[in-house]
């Protein structure tokens, strides 16, 4: 049997196992293990299965994952998000749709210290949704803004998913963090524009609140200093080349703990909960990475990505057409695959294909994360939508579905812009670290 046929059977088996409710890490491991055994024999596969977990589980470079997750967990329990929202609300007071725009700004800022989409959506929903509803906002618009804003957490650095992409695609974390910043800011701006457009089209959806003086607005800018400090020290430190990602993550986690403790907002109990949540989250992340590594070795051996590339060339498909097909595939996968699982399953297959068409792996990483964001918010299964409904069970899911629709155009527009202007993602990495 041809190697590529074995690869195709492996991919089909993987999806069959996933649909049968087999956990992602087990499906990846089993298919990877059996596939590698068929391709290169059982003994070398056992050697691989023995070293992969150890090499991955004791890798210094991956220590950035738990440390950034800890920073996000601590930031979640210390009420940092509340400060951000309060400041944004005052600064934008009196503007139509100002509360929703403020919530989006707070989501973007919180995502910049949290790195997790679901955590950002859940935290900001708790804080901003009751206020928006009290102010008479349409529940669909409010929920849509929060779901979209929550998804920014995985694009704006530090992003957990970008660290995982870096590990699987053998790319530099600082370079990816630099690449994610501009697209993250542009997407935030697009989401804000969507809110403003909806608010002006349907004035009853977003009533204008009371205005405040310029002095009050300026004073409000001082409140989220803790966020600014954390962001400047961690991400600024990485960008400036002062700290490695692991060092920045350690400083960020420690800084979040100190700021929380000094401000009297972090009890020992809450700190322990944050640490334990980090352990549990990483426990499952790392077994998925073990499995993804085995699966990735299998894909390399089958040369399935090369076959796909050959097929695309034989059909005279251009790079943009292939990329469009890949993006459509990601949107379909996003209907039933969780973001990290989707990334780990697909990158070993798609990245070699994308490289043959001359696309930059860093640029592709950002595209994948943006598409994963779409997966988090698009009906019927976008996870952020359910996170919001879990916090506001009285809002019908159909209302949330209709509320999110206008926001779906924003990431798609950003992807188009990134095709036309790849430097949206590649300019900052080049500026900070030179040509890759």
């Amino acid at each position: 049997m041809a190697a590529s046929t074995i690869g195709a059977i492996g991919v089909i088996a993987l999806f069959a196992l996933l649909l049968l409710r087999v956990p992602v890490w087990i499906a990846l491991t089993l298919v990877g293990f059996i596939g590698n055994s068929v391709m290169s024999g059982v003994t070398p596969t056992f050697a691989l299965a023995g070293t992969v977990p150890f090499d991955t589980g004791s890798a210094y470079t991956l220590s950035v994952l738990p440390l950034f997750i800890l920073m996000g967990e601590v930031a979640s329990v210390t009420g940092l998000s509340s400060d951000l929202f309060k400041a944004a609300r005052v600064i934008l007071a009196g503007m139509r749709g100002g509360l929703a725009v403020g919530a989006l700004a707070a989501c973007a800022c919180f995502g910049a210290v949290c790195g997790s989409s679901v955590a950002t959506a859940a935290t900001m929903t708790r804080i901003a949704l009751p206020e928006m509803r009290k102010a008479g906002y349409d529940p669909g618009l409010a929920a849509g803004a929060l779901a979209a804003g929550g998804s920014l957490g995985i694009l704006i650095p530090p992003s957990i998913i970008l660290v995982i992409y870096a590990a699987i695609a053998e790319q530099s974390v600082p370079r990816l963090f630099a690449a994610g910043l501009l697209p993250g800011l542009i997407l935030t701006a697009f989401y804000m524009i969507v809110v403003v457009l909806v608010a002006f089209a349907r004035k009853d959806y977003a009533p204008v609140g009371a205005s405040v003086s310029l002095r009050e607005r300026l004073a409000a800018m001082r409140d989220p200093w803790q966020f600014l400090l954390l962001f400047l020290v961690t991400i600024g430190g990485i960008y400036a080349g002062i700290f490695s990602p692991t060092e920045a993550a350690s400083i960020g986690a420690f800084g979040a703990i100190v700021l929380g403790a000094v401000g009297g907002r972090l009890s020992l109990k809450a700190l322990l909960r944050a640490i334990e949540n980090t352990v549990v989250t990483c426990g499952i992340l790392f077994v998925i990475i073990f499995g993804a590594n085995l699966f990735s070795f299998f894909m390399v051996q089958t040369q399935l990505p090369s076959l796909l590339a050959d097929g695309a060339h034989a059909l005279n498909l251009s790079g943009p057409v292939v990329m469009t097909l890949i993006i459509v595939a990601y949107i379909v996968f996003g209907c039933f695959l969780e973001a990290i699982g989707m990334l780990l399953i697909t990158v070993p297959v798609f990245l070699p294909l994308v490289k043959t068409f001359g696309y930059d792996p860093v640029w592709f990483g950002i595209i994948v994360v943006i598409v994963a964001e779409v997966g988090l918010i698009h009906p019927p299964v976008g996870l952020n939508l359910f996170v919001i409904q879990a916090h506001a069970p009285d809002i019908k899911i159909t209302k949330i579905y209709t509320g999110i629709v206008p926001f779906l155009f924003a990431p798609l527009l950003l992807i188009v812009l990134m095709f036309l202007f790849p430097s949206i993602a590649l300019w900052l990495p080049k500026l900070f670290y030179g040509a890759g």
Binding site: L18, L19, L20, R21, V22, P23, V24, W25, I26, T29, L30, F46, A47, L48, A49, G50, T51, P53, F54, T56, G57, S58, A59, Y60, L62, S63, P66, L67, L70, G115, S116, S117, V118, I154, I161, T246, E247, S250, A253, F254, L272, I275, E276, T278, V279, V280, C282, G283, I284, L285, F286, V287, I288, F290, F336, L337, A339, I340, G341, L383
Partner: protein
């Protein structure tokens, strides 16, 4: 003879012990890296062996941190079938996943024995600390053993007590 509940309680204690060990490893990782940065920039005297120490703590953190996730079934699963499958079918699939979890962890653990023994026999050392590498392998294998026991704990727990969760 130990009944199912007693066994579960015992395994839950093991899980808590591993969780605490992993938590401590995380704190050590954070503190060591922080000290290293501080001493390097302020006194131009970085912590000797900080890199090795972080790698060692990572092994403890990762391999002992799995147990809670496995005992509590905090896996990422595609649960499309839940919306139309009969609950008995779902319970059977959960049980099959539990069995596969044990088998897959067993596979990893078995595969890790040979390189662990090689590290022991060859006397490999960490470059900065001079720490025998087999210490790390031992920590990893102990963590794996605990994880397998906790996966067995999930098997003896009710099938409908699963909490599939999205981690990030």
């Amino acid at each position: 003879m130990m009944n199912r509940n007693q066994a579960y309680v015992l395994l839950d204690r093991l899980r808590i012990a591993q969780l605490r060990l992993a938590s401590m490893a995380l704190i050590v990782m954070m503190v060591v890296t922080l000290l290293d940065v501080f001493l390097r920039y302020v006194f131009n005297s970085p912590v000797r062996g900080s890199y090795d120490l972080v790698e060692t703590m990572m092994a403890v953190f990762v391999f002992h941190g799995m147990s809670t996730a496995l005992l509590k079934r905090r896996n990422i699963v595609i649960d499309l079938i839940d919306s139309f499958g009969h609950r008995y079918l779902i319970a059977v699939l959960v049980r099959i996943s539990d069995l596969l979890t044990i088998a897959t962890l067993g596979l990893y653990a078995y595969a890790m024995i040979t390189p662990a023994l090689q590290a022991f026999n060859y006397g490999d050392l960490k470059m900065e600390l001079g720490l025998p590498v087999w210490y790390l392998w031992a920590a990893a294998l102990l963590g794996m053993a605990g994880a397998i026991l906790c996966a067995i704990g999930a098997l003896i727990a009710p099938a409908d007590s699963h909490h599939d969760e999205e981690p990030a």
